[in-house]
Symmetry: C2
Subunit: 188 residues, 2 copies
């Protein structure tokens, strides 16, 4: 059997790896889904920048979530067509990536993974982050084409897929932060 053309290395969670996995699945493209169990230290020296996810391709390794997702989207038809919509797809991904980083470090780590103490101002943090989620979703709603099924058109793009994976995780692990924003509901 030939070596798989693509190998995604990430933790055994959805997080920043799930959009890549979903795009491979939607494209019916085989890939090696390496989910590390022993912590970052077990693979750190093999990563380009010391962090995950990393996508290994026949051309080399790619790091940075948005770079990985852009690559798979370009290869398998999940990138919107115009330069403007491509840029907005990247803007959406970067904004969601920043947001999920703040939710993860401030809430998931202490409350869900329990790898750090629960901060004293946890209720305040929940309130602030729930507002940030709404702001982010309003931004996405505002740049979307009204009447289209997905953000840019009736064809799903990498931005829709990333939005879905981030919001679906958030809905499951901290449902109290949920939003009734239209794009949240569309995405889940």
């Amino acid at each position: 059997m030939a070596a798989p053309q693509y190998k995604l290395t990430y933790f055994d969670v959805r997080g920043r790896g799930e959009a890549a996995r979903l795009m491979f699945a939607l494209a019916k493209q085989d890939f090696e889904d390496q989910r590390i169990q022993g912590g970052l230290a077990t693979v750190k020296s093999t990563t380009p920048q010391g962090f995950l996810p990393v996508l290994e391709t026949n051309e080399g390794k790619i790091s940075q979530t948005t770079a990985i997702n852009t690559y798979i989207a370009e290869k398998f038809g999940f990138m919107p067509d115009t330069a403007y919509e491509k840029a907005q797809a990247i803007s959406v991904m970067l904004t969601l990536n920043d947001l999920t980083g703040r939710i993860s470090s401030q809430l998931y780590m202490p409350l869900v993974y329990k790898v750090m103490p629960v901060p004293e101002d946890v209720e305040e943090k929940k309130k602030t982050l729930a507002e940030e989620i709404n702001t982010c979703l309003a931004f996405i709603e505002n740049l979307s084409n009204s009447g289209s099924k997905f953000i840019f058109s009736d064809k799903i793009s990498v931005a829709d897929i990333f939005l879905f994976t981030i919001m679906e995780t958030q809905r499951q692990v901290l449902p109290e932060l949920n939003s009734d924003n239209e794009w949240f509901l569309k995405s889940v």
Copy 2:
């Protein structure tokens, strides 16, 4: 006179806006270079996400530095050709953007702009960030094609231009963090 097709709004510094300005200049494309003087508050309500830079186009406003730079690069021929190299260009820009954010908040703000107190551990921070610069440049060097004039080929790309603007600023405002890495020297 027709309204300019592009308007870039940013602070009156190079920072995250200079690569966009340089690409317009290299492409001989007129644009309105709006440099705000009164602080973010003067334009915040007109931005998509409350931060700068923002690029206004005939299709709409784009926020997020890497999204803006990708848009201009796609429009004016500064994006590398393959999906793999495009992804690596985005990875380089995101890595440099993260790095310059840390340098800016930890060193430029207190030492250069003097808008916050100098931290007690400033020498430690300088050492750590100088190491991070070297790590970032080693990452770029490692993914570059050996023997090529620029990162991906002999043709300049948005990644080279962003690298130049970030490193040139760093060299001028905090020369003590300088690196002798080949890609630093190539870029300035």
